[in-house]
């Protein structure tokens, strides 16, 4: 008796046949992901240790000069330019996520408290910008912040910008664009948690004379943590790598790591350095998510 028969959910079969059948299902997608995701990513890792030839070709010598360059070391001494870009990207992604979360709370509570019929309408209103192409939404801010419109005029009257100037490119425009870009990414998952909120816990806290902030942090926030976590990840990760918004609204001076990577793979044609910057971005994203996860667990444990 060579094969040992097993029963798998009513199916009398052998382990080997089952595994073979499963692998058949998996093979197409797995092959695809291996070929176009895993192997290219590994090549990218290797590439970050290569160097660029004078015509933009790749020279496969093992060197860490790309990382040295990223850290600011060059033949002419040390400059923190690239480190600034990395640091700025983390700050922008962090603040974008934070502001989005702060704005998302009232909005999701508001939507959850609508009667069922209008609730769908409000949800649809959040989903539409969620699915509207990023380039279009960034471009729309371009228009709103134009010098002819009241917003720029108001800022000029207040003396914030010179008369007749647009509100872009500026740090303010980048944040405006970023928050409006990613806000729906927080609202939708957060709403799904708020909708399922157990209000009796909130009432219990109130009955026991908790202060408003205590009610929020001890009775509401822990309950909304699952949705909030998804929202934070969905916002932070793309915000770290974004390059459309800073490119259109931030101008050349306000470069983020996404723009730096785009430059290396585009105009500069310095793939090895682009790969090294990508590695830095990946590591920073992972570290931030890990930190967040640990904090998230602390909040849940409290």
């Amino acid at each position: 008796m060579g094969k040992k028969l097993i029963i798998w959910h009513g199916d009398l079969t052998s382990r080997r046949a089952l595994i073979q059948r499963g692998l058949t299902f998996l093979s197409g997608g797995m092959l695809w992901l291996m070929l176009f995701l895993v192997i290219p990513s590994l090549v990218l890792v290797a590439l970050s240790f290569a160097s660029r030839g004078s015509y933009g070709e790749v020279i496969w010598n093992f060197t860490v000069e790309n990382y040295e360059r990223l850290m600011g070391f060059s033949a002419f001494g040390w400059t923190p330019d690239y480190l600034y870009i990395l640091g700025r990207s983390v700050v922008v992604a962090f603040l974008t996520t934070l502001i989005s979360v702060i704005l998302a709370f009232p909005l999701s509570f508001f939507i959850a408290s609508r009667p069922p019929r209008t609730r769908y309408l409000w949800l649809t209103l959040v989903i539409v910008p969620f699915w509207t192409n990023m380039v279009i939404r960034a471009y729309a801010w371009f228009l709103i912040l134009a010098p002819e419109l009241p917003f720029a005029k108001l800022a000029a009257t207040l003396g914030l910008v010179p008369e007749g100037a647009a509100l872009y490119p500026s740090v303010f425009a980048v944040y405006l664009g970023m928050v409006s870009m990613f806000l729906p990414f927080v609202v939708l998952p957060l709403y799904s948690s708020v909708e399922r909120l157990d209000w009796s816990l909130v009432e219990a806290a109130q009955d026991l004379y908790s202060s408003r902030s205590r009610v929020f942090f001890k009775a509401i926030l822990p309950q909304t943590m699952p949705g909030l976590s998804v929202g934070v990840v969905l916002t932070f990760v793309p915000a770290m790598g974004t390059f459309v918004v800073p490119d259109l609204l931030g101008g050349a001076k306000y470069m983020l790591v996404g723009n730096l990577i785009q430059q290396q793979f585009g105009a500069s044609r310095d793939w090895p350095f682009g790969a090294a910057v990508s590695m830095a971005l990946m590591v920073l994203t992972m570290i931030s998510l890990q930190l967040y996860r640990r904090r998230g667990e602390e909040i849940e444990l409290l």
């Binding site: 798998w8 009513g10 499963g22 992901l33 009232p106 959040v126 371009f142 790598g241």
Partner: protein, 265 residues
Amino acid sequence: MKATHPVITSLATMTMGFLYLPLFGVAIYSVNSAEKSLLWEGFTFNWYLQLFENEWIIQTAWNTLKLALVSTVIATILGTLVAIGINRFPWSRKANAFLDVLLHIPVVTPDIIMAGALVVAFGALRAFSDVFEPGMVNMIIGHITFQIAFVALVVRSRLASIGHDVEEAARDLFASNWYVMRRIMLPLMLPGVVAGAMLAFTLSLDDFVLSFFTSGPDSQTLPLYIYAAVRKGVTPEIHALSTLVVLITVVLVVGAERLGRKKEI
């Protein structure tokens, strides 16, 4: 449900206004007859009519649609098969963890890194075949690569919620593998497959970064076109084009939601 505090209501309304202000601004200026200035000069549909006469834009719109359709069909098939393969077979804990990580890579990787990796991959593959010159094929491959994971995740969660009971009942009644798959599993998981396909389709329409990195001169899509145009300065034509895209998005979202709600009943 409790009554909402007026502060929450006003904050929520302001946030919604903040989300929609730019979109409405563009819509209003798309019907403004002034060409150079942003002052209101009267209502016109001219910019929309000009769009439909612009062959380059029509070609671009067609490219966008082709890219989304082809990549969605392929990604839905591959992603669904992967989901079945993961959910319906006795993989060891390690194999399951590996598959789980693999499917989450595209979700937690900033898309610009995936785009960079694909640029490098296509650069290498170009040595073997001209197919990998920047252009439509590369864009389709790139889109499928992130779509597969999303489709598989959606379908997998649907499969997990179906459970094994129906399948076991069918097998007890001597249904063959093929019969179980076609008459039991497929109808049950169809809502998940449709949801996954719609997600993949919208992700493709939404994408800018991957297309930007892998496109060639003949495979411009609408987002790429708008991006290039904005850098030259805003024009009423671009307002009209953007407004049209937003309107199409609205139709898609409302349609998808209708479809989803019918399924629930």
